[in-house]
Amino acid sequence: MKTIPVETTINGDSAEFLCHADESLLDVLRDRLGLTGAKEGCGTGDCGACSVMLNGRVVCSCLVLGVEAQGAEVETIEGMANGEELHPLQRIFLEEAALQCGVCTPGILVAAKALLEKNPDPTDTELRYWLAGNLCRCTGYDKIIKAVQTAAAEMRSA
């Protein structure tokens, strides 16, 4: 199968890559661009470990074709920190130990940030529904919900 050239923007920088027509954006990010923050948990849209932003909306990158990134704006977990300075969500996840193995964490951080940009003060119920597509096998979710709420409160007062 021949490869297709794609021009896109990733975390604010223009990027070019070649990919096959049936290759997912997740595979492109991980295998062609070395951005391994997004994880493959299921490959079928169920777990959210591959969450990235595409044109301002959170998507499962396993259910986007790499070729669909042509002309689009992609944001990944790699772009969340400001240089050495972690995003409040990232820092508080570490401080409050809202992760164990960490496989779900990049996806949860990307999805949670997307929610807080729309709704800076979600209820726990809203947050749990919003994150229903991000599965975590380790934490039991409570610590995740608490950490996002702590970060949300800090971001509101900033």
């Binding site: 595409l54 998507v59 074709l65 229903a132």
Partner: protein, 287 residues
């Protein structure tokens, strides 16, 4: 697999019509890319139409709304006027999948994929929604109820595809509602579902009613008798009993791991009853 973004609807129709192998349209990809990954369907041609005019727009038309075939569930949920006019349609769409799936999934994809449990389909049917279909011979308008023909099947001919779906105008004293039963709170496939759309007169008497059920037959069903049972009533017990009886009589489900024939039939009736009450209250009716 070839990936093509045609320059026009006509070019897309020709391309799809002439394709000798398996062709699919890529809307949100939340069904078609899952099937690709699972090697259930391995298309030779994937046609992306999302960039074509009107595909991503919701526009007012004749007092209703025309929703482009590539508009996502999230975009519909953010459209206040659309939600106010057709809350049941929008709540059906918004039940599809997670936040991530909502960013991509479309009503047209949900319809064309042909699942008997498609969450946006019953309320589109009760709304009298009409799909605009482009094909090699031009454009035609097809009622949504006529599109699905069985699990994984639809009535579109080779080369045909949906460019938009019209949700028609309706009076102020009218509304709709959609409910599904799932054993979890999120991220599951309906065991049964029901949509009801009602119009009331100034006294709160139902003047028109449409009822559709999902996951209880090979396709979503419009149950005419169930709507008839509500007309002339204010949803009194006798009218509701008629609705439930008509729904149960129309059900023709299967037993599988999600539910038995008996369970699906019973819950479809209960959901239709509850959806009728919600639609009635939304339409301003006071029983």
């Amino acid at each position: 697999m070839r990936y093509v973004k045609p320059q026009s609807f006509e070019a897309a129709a020709t391309l799809l019509h002439e394709e000798a192998g398996i062709a699919r349209i890529l809307a949100g990809g939340t069904d078609v890319l899952v099937q690709l990954k699972a090697e259930m369907v391995e298309p030779d041609l994937m046609v992306d139409l999302k960039h074509l005019p009107g595909m991503r727009e919701i526009v007012a038309e004749d007092g209703g709304f025309r929703v482009g075939a590539a508009v996502s569930g999230a975009e519909m949920g953010e459209h206040a006027a659309l939600k106010a006019m057709w809350p049941g349609v929008v709540e059906g769409v918004e039940l599809i999948g997670s936040s991530q799936v909502q960013s991509r999934a479309t009503m047209a994809g949900n319809l064309c994929t042909g699942s008997p449990a498609g969450d946006s389909v019953p309320a589109m049917v009760t709304a009298g929604a009409v799909a605009r279909v482009q094909g090699p011979d031009g454009v035609r308008d097809v009622p949504v109820v006529d599109i699905p023909t069985g699990p994984g099947k639809n009535s579109l001919a080779k080369g045909e595809f949906i460019t938009s779906i019209l949700l028609p105008a309706r009076p102020d004293t009218a509304s709709d509602a959609y409910l599904r039963f799932i054993p979890r709170t999120e991220m599951d496939i309906a065991v049964s579902s029901a949509a009801v759309s009602l119009e009331l007169d100034s006294d709160g008497v139902v003047t028109a009613a449409h009822v559709a059920v999902g996951a209880v037959a090979p396709t979503v069903l419009l149950v005419q008798d169930a709507g008839v049972a509500l007309v002339g009533s204010k949803l009194d017990d006798a009218a509701i009993a008629g609705l439930v009886a008509a729904v149960e009589a129309a059900c023709n489900p299967i037993t599988d791991k999600r539910g038995t024939i008996e369970f699906r039939t019973k819950t479809a009736g209960v959901l239709a009853k509850r959806a009728a009450h919600i639609a009635y209250a939304r339409a301003g009716g006071q029983a």
